[in-house]
């Protein structure tokens, strides 16, 4: 009984919400995430869970606890664009893996938010690495539509979701063609049919934002879920389920961005051309390995890109022109580019975002290559993905009014030898500790002279 009580108390302690602190970090190298260069001897002030001020010449208000940041770097938390954080405990363990749904009867209607698990080890590892926000998507497998992704925070609390149904994802190119029945031709037909069906359905069903009905602004981060609107609209088309058609209404009316997985230059042109038929589409390109070849077109269309950071292999026929200079060339052409699409826990796990951003900086020293400045590279993993997610000035940046998401690093965050030392989300300092950390503690030595390792915890 007493043991159970103790355990209960411990669990209670763990589940007690952590309080936001008012604090300032002083005399640190501060990078605000807005693309500017880091400032030495800077200060960041956080109050009520939000950034009050950041930069040089910032005074610490009276009554705010000052943390000496000498020798440290302070940045906004990193934003992992298009991740699968919280959707799997182990990708290879199919029982634990919710990143895709090949056998689902639904496509566009899928919504990742109820499946998210903030207690996943991968969330903890990413958080300890300095990632505070992410977009999470469901990978298209059974349908060309993956469904609706969410914007999340990685805080050690019970709720990851910041904005559910924040974007829809569709895959075109080689993968979409296979799903669509075997060709890009079919994928484009499926996409157009889906958008037309949902436009008609939105109108007939009087879903807000559908057809001629004006979009409804809820004023918060929780969009209306058109799938759940009761209606008796008749439907002639039968390719989309009612649920899928309803889910695409916000895509057609431009209130929900459509993330399009596309790599080849010609495929990118075809995607940009979609707006000729569906003018309100709010497009975001994912991947875009050959984006540098059509960078001026992408820039002219004002379509942002979430790029694979350092792809440089012709790993498929749609990526023949892949080069690590892709991101740099697109940025030089005026395209808004975030780094992302790091999924899983192998070579492209989200915590490698900083390393890959650093690699793009290293290209500035390679003759003929096009890289990014340090400030640009850090912005590509902080403020820019936040802007693309619809959270510009709120996440991924240290400026007055932004969320108190910040990371104290033991050195240059883009350098592979550096690490996050302290992580704050909404002004709440995040606990450290994970399965990995506990294993590391246990096996720091192999001494079992008194008891087996299983007693060392």
């Amino acid at each position: 009984m007493s043991a159970r009580l103790l355990i209960g108390t411990a669990l209670l302690a763990l589940s007690t919400p952590l309080a936001a602190q008012d604090f300032a970090i002083t005399n640190a190298t501060v990078a605000t995430g807005d693309g500017s260069d880091p400032v030495v001897g800077g200060t960041v002030v956080v109050r009520g869970g939000k950034v009050v001020a950041a930069g040089s010449g910032v005074a610490v208000p009276a009554g705010v606890q000052a943390i000496d940041g000498t020798g440290k770097w302070v940045t906004p938390g990193v934003f992992a664009a298009v991740s699968d954080l919280g959707l799997a405990d182990s990708e290879g363990v199919s029982e634990s893996n919710d990143t895709s749904a090949r056998g689902s009867p639904f496509g566009a209607a899928l919504d990742v938010s109820p499946a998210l698990n903030p207690a996943s080890q991968h969330v903890a590892v990413a958080r300890e690495a300095g990632i505070t926000r992410a977009s999470v998507y469901s990978s298209p497998t059974g349908s060309i539509f993956g469904g609706q992704g969410a914007i999340v925070d990685l805080g050690a609390d019970g709720n990851m979701v910041v904005r559910p149904r924040a974007f829809q994802i569709v895959t075109l190119g080689e993968a979409g063609a296979r799903i669509a029945g075997g060709s890009r031709v079919s994928a484009h037909a499926l996409l157009r049919n889906a958008l037309r069906e949902s436009r008609q359905y939105g109108s007939d069903s009087r879903i807000v934002g559908g057809g001629r009905n004006a979009p409804l602004e809820t004023g918060d981060d929780i969009p209306v879920d058109p799938r759940l609107v009761d209606n008796s609209a008749e439907r002639d088309d039968v390719l989309l389920t009612r649920f899928d058609a309803a889910a695409l209404v916000p895509v057609v009316n431009g209130s929900q961005p459509l993330y399009v997985v596309v790599e080849r230059a010609s495929d990118i042109r075809s995607v940009l051309a979609l707006r000729g038929e569906f003018p309100r589409l709010k497009l975001v390109l994912l991947g875009a390995s050959e984006g540098w070849m059509v960078a001026s077109d992408i820039a002219a269309a004002d379509v942002p890109v979430i790029a694979d950071p350092v792809d440089d292999l012709p790993s498929s026929f749609e990526q023949l022109a892949a080069t690590q200079s892709n991101v740099g060339r697109m940025v030089r052409a005026g395209v808004k580019v975030a780094l992302g699409r790091l999924i899983g826990t192998t070579g492209e796990q989200p915590k490698n975002l900083m390393q890959f951003a650093g690699n793009l900086v290293s290209l500035t020293r390679v003759p003929g290559a096009t890289g990014l400045s340090w400030g640009e590279a850090f912005a590509a993993i902080s403020s820019i993905p936040a802007e693309i997610a619809g959270f510009g000035d709120r996440f991924g940046v240290l400026k007055a009014g932004a969320a108190g998401d910040l990371v104290v690093w033991d050195g240059d965050p883009l350098e592979v030898s550096s690490a996050a030392e302290r992580v704050f989300i909404d002004g709440v300092e995040q606990p450290r500790g994970s399965h990995q950390k506990r294993l590391g503690d246990r096996y720091r030595d192999l001494d079992e002279s008194d008891l087996p390792k299983a007693y060392d915890w």
Binding site: L313, L320, N359
Partner: protein, 456 residues
Amino acid sequence: MNTFRLMLTASCALALAACSTTEGTNDTASTRAATAINKDPYPSTYRPYPGAPTALVGATVFDGAGGRIEGGTVLFDGGKVVAIGGADLAIPTGYTRVDGSGKFVTPGIIDIHSHLGDYPSPGVSAHSDGNEATDPTTPEVWAEHSVWPQDPGFSRALANGGITSLQILPGSANLMGGRSVTLKNVASRTIQGMKFPGAPYGMKMACGENPKRVYGGKGRMPSTRMGNLAVNRQTWLDAKADDGKKRNLATETLKGVLAGEILIQNHCYRADEMALVLDMAKEMGYKVAAFHHAVESYKIADLLKANDVCSAIWADWYGFKMESYDGIPENAAYLQNAGACVVIHSDDANGIQRLNQEAAKAQAAGRRVGIEIPDETVIRWLTLNAAKAMGIADLTGSLEPGKMADVVLWNGDPLSVYSRPEKVWIDGALMYDANDPKRRPVSDFELGQPGEGDVK
């Protein structure tokens, strides 16, 4: 020049073949059989390309063997390292001086675990040549018979990763996947033109989930870990019992392992399974050169040290499958701290371009728990330790006089994310130069296609 190279090739091939027929076991019958077998039927035709006598001066030199020289000098000529020393090392006349001030020199980087060529780019199904997944034991297949020399991945590994040698392994679907091949990272029309002269063969083995999943899924043995061990043991016993009267390619590979001529490269994640394999190796009479993907090596660092087995590992991959769930970033540091052999590997056409960065991450993870590992030791994880586990440490892997002049000049500290190879020499020949757009290989596949000859 081409004629000259071909002539050299032919004579050396004969010499190698002659050499390789002299080995055998103590058993008279099998010795007779062995003498009839050409153990090198697909001999290396690689010959070093022309190089100039070169003096790298003024750089920080990591020699690969754990040494570090500030403002060092490295001399190479005739494809071999001639001398290495400080600023006071005399430079003979006729050497081209390359200024390395502010730069770093390492031996060529070696990847012990690659599938370039047997799973090449583009990764279309027609190129899926890494797993002969039709039988759980296929010691008879040789990776070199799958490797496509036109894989563009070789050039990325050279230019971005400074890779000069690499071992191409069969995949891990099978308990015994077949022979590996060690290559020089030199573009060639044929695989023979890439083969590392004098490198021993390896044999790929795999523990755990993959073989039991692949074959269990086909309704055949093994479908469990106990099945894995049973099939392995019976296969070894059958090979030992083979009288050699009729040539059997599988048995020849296995007997090569038992004779110590072929090195075991064993895919194995979990500590408990590695411990079982070590006992199986003792039971059957062979040695494991390295456990690959050994994410749990840190749990048995003592055992691995005692058995002199290297751990070929990633810096921080973990949790992507059940048997990798206990991977920790301190793995390399804990192994090093225990005196066990660490090798950083890629298993990945992208990761092979950044082995130096992976090593730096593993080093830093150690530092954060109080294990300081000098930079010069960390470089050894990518060079001499890899060479040791591949059986080529007498030939390459460190900048010792007489060894192959496989050398990388980095434009900064190779353990920094901001550094890249500036020049790469293989056997003293300049095969990559960041300052010369033409001094980089472009594979046949890339010609006339978007991105041909681009920086990658």
